[in-house]
Structure formats: C-alpha cells, structure tokens
C-alpha cells in the first residue's frame, strides 16, 4: 500500500546548525573541497552559496530589517528539491532517470540511467537540479529513498523534546537537533505545519503574523512533498510565491507521440504510394530542337 510521505521543515525552529547539510553529504558520499581556503568565501554563513554538483541541500541565511525598533529578522531556509507531486523534471527526462516513486511520491533519481542532457534543469520551477562529473550526471535530493526502502532506523527529536525511534527517515531529518525537520505521511506533516503556524501567529511573545505553510497547495493544489513552516513572508526565503511548471513542458511531452504518429502516417502513405506505383512504365522521351 502506498502512503504519500513528506519532509517537514519548520523555519521557526531551525537554528541553522547545518547538521542536515553535513548529514546529506555524509550519507550520500558527496565530496567537499578539502584544501586550504578551497571553499569560496561567501561573505555569509551560507556556504556554498547555492546547490552544486556535490551539494544537494543548503541552509539559506537571510538578514532583513526588522519592523521592530531593534535587531534584525534573521531567517533560516532550506534549499533543496521540493519533490513536486507533478514534477516537471521527471516529465521532460528522456531517459527515465527521474521518476516519481509510487510508494512515497518523492522524485526518485537513478543516476545510472542519466544521460546528462540537462533537460530537467530547464523544467524545474525551483532551479534545483545540478550536475557532476565529466558526463554531467544529475545530482539532487532523493529524500534518501535508499534509507526508506531499507528500513534504516533513527533516533529523532520530533520537535517536542522527546527522542523516539523512527524508521526509514532521511539523513537530514535524522540529524536535526532542534527537531525542525520531521518526516512522515504527507497529511500528517501538513496538519502539523498548520498547527505550528497557528501557534506562531497567536503566541503572546513575538508573534509571527506572516507565518505560513508552504508546499501543500502549490501547483493548483497538487503540492510538493516538502512541507515548510515559514516564519516570515515567502520571498524572504528565496522561494517563488507561485511557482509554475512551464506549459512548454507539457508541449514537449506531446512531441514524442506526435512525431511517432506523423512518421508512421508518412510511412503508411508512402507505402500505399509504392504499392499503387508497382508496374509503372513509361516510354523513353526525346526532344527534337528543330521541331520546336
């Protein structure tokens, strides 16, 4: 039986320790530059500045002026694959390297099938897929489907301070000390997110009037399999307010059957023409300049 699953991220609980970023690297054996000053200085705690061929998850740091009389609003965001329910990347992937996992709804990556065409890069409304190696293989979050499928056990803090054993948890969720990340059935994660948003909006000390849930209703309700609690307005986290998969992605999907149909019709028509022409003969023609 399949249950749609989701990764839950609560930006208001995140302390930006980057444990998730490290756990992702460790579990997926993604290398980092190790030389002296090999990492580019970013003038920020955000490092690297964006996803790359070796980095599937980064924590975003955004510093904005506070409407209060003092301090700044410092927001911590998660930038990684959103695991769309109707992923444009999987629609355009010609090799089947990207597909929707039927059991969970996450976007599966099969690197051995990737041919490095980079079609997925153009179809992702979140600009997530990155590539590595000489043959340009796709690199993006897999929601640790390998851990999920093999029943990897983990002790996690579920956000209430209670540590419990949970199975099949992605590496990032497993490592999150403040319990800002959680993992479970999508419906439960959405309910948890709304509960948290209610709390953030109505708490007596430092309420967050702009708090919202992100990911449940995007793409005309289809949503994503990463559900976020955003403490500040959506734009603060560098996320698109209303992301859209380009209509050209659908058109590209039509091109294969259309081309096949057109080619088949042409071959059939020409075959018929060949059959009607069997036995065709004509006299040898001559031109006499003097008589014309």
């Amino acid at each position: 039986m399949s249950t749609e699953m989701a990764i839950y991220f609560d930006s208001s609980a995140c302390t930006a320790c980057k444990g998730c970023q490290c756990a992702c690297k460790c579990w997926n054996s993604l290398p980092s530059p190790l030389g002296l000053n090999a990492n580019e200085f970013t003038h920020s705690y955000q490092s690297p500045m964006d996803l790359n061929g070796n980095t599937r998850l980064i924590m975003r740091f955004e510093e904005n002026e506070s409407p209060k009389k003092w301090g700044v609003e410092w927001s911590f965001g998660r930038r990684s694959c959103m695991h769309c329910s109707n992923p444009g990347c999987a629609s355009v992937c010609p090799s089947g390297a990207l597909s929707v996992d039927e059991a969970t709804g996450f976007v599966r990556v099969e690197e051995d099938k990737c041919i490095g065409c980079r079609y997925c890069e153009t179809a992702c409304p979140f600009d997530v897929p990155r590539y590595y190696g000489p043959d340009s293989k796709v690199n993006k979050c897999t929601a640790c489907l390998d851990r999920q499928e093999n029943g990897r056990a983990a002790q996690i803090n579920n956000g209430t301070g209670v540590t419990q054993t949970q199975f099949n948890v992605p590496a990032c969720v497993h490592t999150c000390p403040p319990g800002a990340l959680d993992f479970g059935p999508r419906d439960e994660m959405i309910a948890k997110a709304y509960e948290r948003v209610e709390f953030l909006k109505n708490r007596e000390i430092d309420p967050s009037p702009h708090a919202s849930v992100y990911g449940d209703k995007l793409f005309d309700g289809a949503g994503t399999h990463v559900i976020m609690v955003l403490k500040y307005p959506v734009e603060t986290y560098g996320l698109p307010v209303d992301p859209k998969v380009s209509p050209m992605v659908d058109l590209l999907g039509w091109m294969k059957p259309l081309t096949g149909l057109a080619a088949a019709a042409t071959v059939a028509g020409l075959g018929l023409s060949f059959l009607t022409g069997i036995g065709y003969k004509r006299d040898t023609l001559h031109y006499d300049e003097k008589k014309h």
């Binding site: 010609p94 079609y119 992605v249 294969k256 080619a263 042409t266 065709y280 001559h286």
Partner: protein, 228 residues
Amino acid sequence: MTRYIKRHSLQARITHDVTIIACILLAISGLFVFITPLNNLLPSQVTFGIRMAHRVLGVVFIVVPLVSALLAPKGVKHMFSNYLAKWDKDDVTFMKRFLPYMLGPKRVHMPDQHEVKSGQRLADGLLLVAGATIAISGVFLLLGTTVVSFGAGLMLVMHLLHDLAFLMLAVFGLAHIFLGSGIFQPYRRMRRVMFGNGLISESDALYHWGHWAREELEKGDKVVEIKD
C-alpha cells in the same frame, strides 16, 4: 547514344551527400536521447557516447553546407531564386494533381516543370527551414548546457523548436528519401542525380522538369552525349 543534362555540380553533390548522411546519423543518435526505451536499452555510458557523437555530427551538419555556401555564393543565389520563383499555372496544376499522382502514377499526367518543381519548392523548402531550425536550436542547446547560461525559458523554447523541427524533418525527410532515392517507381534512376555523376537522362529530365529540360537542351552547354 543517350543525351544527358548535367544537373548538379560535384560540390553540390558532395555537400548534399555529406549533409544527408550526417542528418540520418543525427536522427538515429538523436532517437537515443528522444526515446526512453531506446536509451534504456544501452548502458548510460554508451548513450552518453552517442550524445557526444550527436554533437560532433551536428557540427558537420552545420559547417559543411555553410562552407560550401561560402565557396559558391552564386550557386546559393541560384538555388534560392529557384525556391522563391513565382508560381505559374503549371506549378499550381502540379500541386493539385500531386496526391492523385502519388496514389496512381499510371493514370495521372503531371504538367511540365521548371528547374525546381513546385512540390520540391514546398517540401524541400520546408526541409531547409526545418534543417536551419534544428541547427540553430541545436547550437543553443549545445552552448546552453556547456559554456553559457541562456536561462530555463529560452532553453525550453529551443527544446521545443528542436523537437518540432525533428518532426518536420521526419515527415519531409522520409518523403524526400522515397522520391529522391527512386523507391517510387516513376522516380527510378533519380538517386544518380545526387549520389551519382550528377547527370540526368534526356528522357527523365523531360518527364520531371519539362520546361527546364527543353531550355537546357536548346542551350546545349550542359548537355553531354554518352554512348549506350
């Protein structure tokens, strides 16, 4: 003795032949990217190799006609003047009779034609447009995935144009091969015009391009007589 008319120069034939072979290999290698079951048939390293070969063939497909055009600007002008020539009554009649002729060449008689038939102007003209479109979009796709970032929107447009041009090439290319290689009975011996010595017999020339054949036979400078 049989009289022949010289229809295509050696340079035109080499350009055509190299481009057409590159085009066919491009179509085959492109199908390994386009069709999922095909590219899953082979290890991804092999498919990757085919993709790289697609790029090299793409360079041949673009560079050979461009170099040829630069070497013979008059020939290019002549070709385009033929393709853009005004249609006369025979041209219209030819197009009206084209489908019945293709399905009954024994019964339907086609009118005389100039150097490039009206059907050729239409179908091969679209073939040229499709070829140019697939070449330009291919350059964008190549550069956009290697050295420059054109942005997702433009790259998607280029993907779509590339696929649309492939559809056009598939349809008009198949028809072109059917007629040009002489699979269609009335077009027998036509492949020699481009893949042979570039000569067409007086009889075939009169049948296919009546107006042009008579003009050339009158002028005589392109006419050669070969002993049977």
